[in-house]
Symmetry: C2
Subunit: 193 residues, 2 copies
DNA sequence: CGAATTTCCGAACCGATCGTTCCATGTTAG
DNA sequence: CTAACATGGAACGATCGGTTCGGAAATTCG
């Protein structure tokens, strides 16, 4: 292989697929290597451990999510639609990523620390985005928010509240309706009457 | 518990859900029992082994499939739509059940024998259904089939042929288009011109 | 071409996991 | 109260799975 980084990327992509289906624990190095048509021990030439692959995958997915979110915001004009798009994409993505978190919540675990690191960094970014969305809507006269800082935090709290049952519940059938409910609540409390 | 059979049914339902997601190997007795809010060893009061649960689940799913197929046929009138519905539901269901088969194809295995038993019985049923569908379409002047017996077998062979990559390939994106292709092939060779 | 370096893998190690058994305890029916 | 039913904690033996190690292939370079 000419480029070692390129192969690391292929491992991440493949592992991501398997992790997202089976979670961290149930995914074996054997499976990852088999999907790459390589020997089990060959993977260790590129990553020191299974955990390291997992970390790389989570980082990759986080960047993926970030990109999806920015495009979701850009593709509509009105502040209301921007916020709506943002929340929908965010929750949908988190539903997809819930397997990673299930893996983490499974038992022990030391990932917890790592996840929390990613998490807190992402939380700050999210807060900034929400604040911006609120601010723009405000100055355009669509929203009516006094303290965009605290309102953003309140919205984020609601979103986080919606994450929890995501990792508990069996069915995702009512995610959409719950999302709609939360959105209408947010908007009715936010939209200028 | 008043009814032991009722509880066996609950176990089957729960196990079915987990099996269909993780396959036989990756599903643990621990998980099944936890989902039922029971101790791991309690399950053994109702089933002698993990394999026995698996067999019960497969039988249950087979009956489920049979019911879906008959309703799929009944809900439309024209023979062409009946056959189309049948094939669609059949292939979709098999896609969903592919996890079971993946579990079987995983390693060893003695399930193979059991699966084959179920399988051959089901094959005969399917052949009868196909033959009937062809016969009805024939007598209504929609199809033009000489030997419904052998034509049914030919169609079944095609369907079986479509199953194989189901258990290989990574993506199911093109299942629909492949299904359409097969259908149009079947119909253009069958419909009265 | 040969040597150096990169890439790959089979085999083995060993701790963790998993299916199953055993037994003691709780629960219900008569 | 007793007997049958139902439960789950603990332990066991087998397998699995992540990781290491040594060296074979393959590739690159002089």
């Amino acid at each position: 292989m000419v480029d070692k980084e390129e192969y690391r990327r292929r491992i991440i992509l493949t592992a991501s697929r398997i992790f997202s289906h089976y979670g961290f624990r149930k995914t074996t190095m054997e499976e990852i290597s088999r999907a790459l048509h390589k020997g089990k021990s060959s993977i260790y030439y590129y990553f020191a451990s299974k955990e390291e692959i997992f970390e790389a995958v989570v980082l990759y997915e986080a960047n993926q999510l970030r990109r999806q979110l920015t495009t979701a915001i850009k593709e509509v004009e009105s502040p209301k639609e921007k916020l709506r798009n943002y929340i929908f994409v965010r929750m949908k993505s988190f539903a997809k990523l819930s397997n990673y978190y299930n893996a983490v919540f499974d038992k022990n675990l030391d990932h917890y620390e790592f996840i929390e690191k990613i998490r807190s960094r992402y939380d700050r970014e999210e807060l900034a985005i929400l604040r911006l969305l609120l601010y723009v809507g405000n100055s355009r006269g669509v929203f009516e928010v006094r303290e965009s800082e605290y309102t953003a935090m309140a919205i984020q709290t609601m979103l986080k509240g919606m994450e929890v049952p995501l990792f508990w519940r069996r069915r995702e059938i009512d995610i959409n309706s719950r999302l709609e409910a939360v959105l209408s609540l947010i908007f009715d409390g936010i939209l200028k009457r």
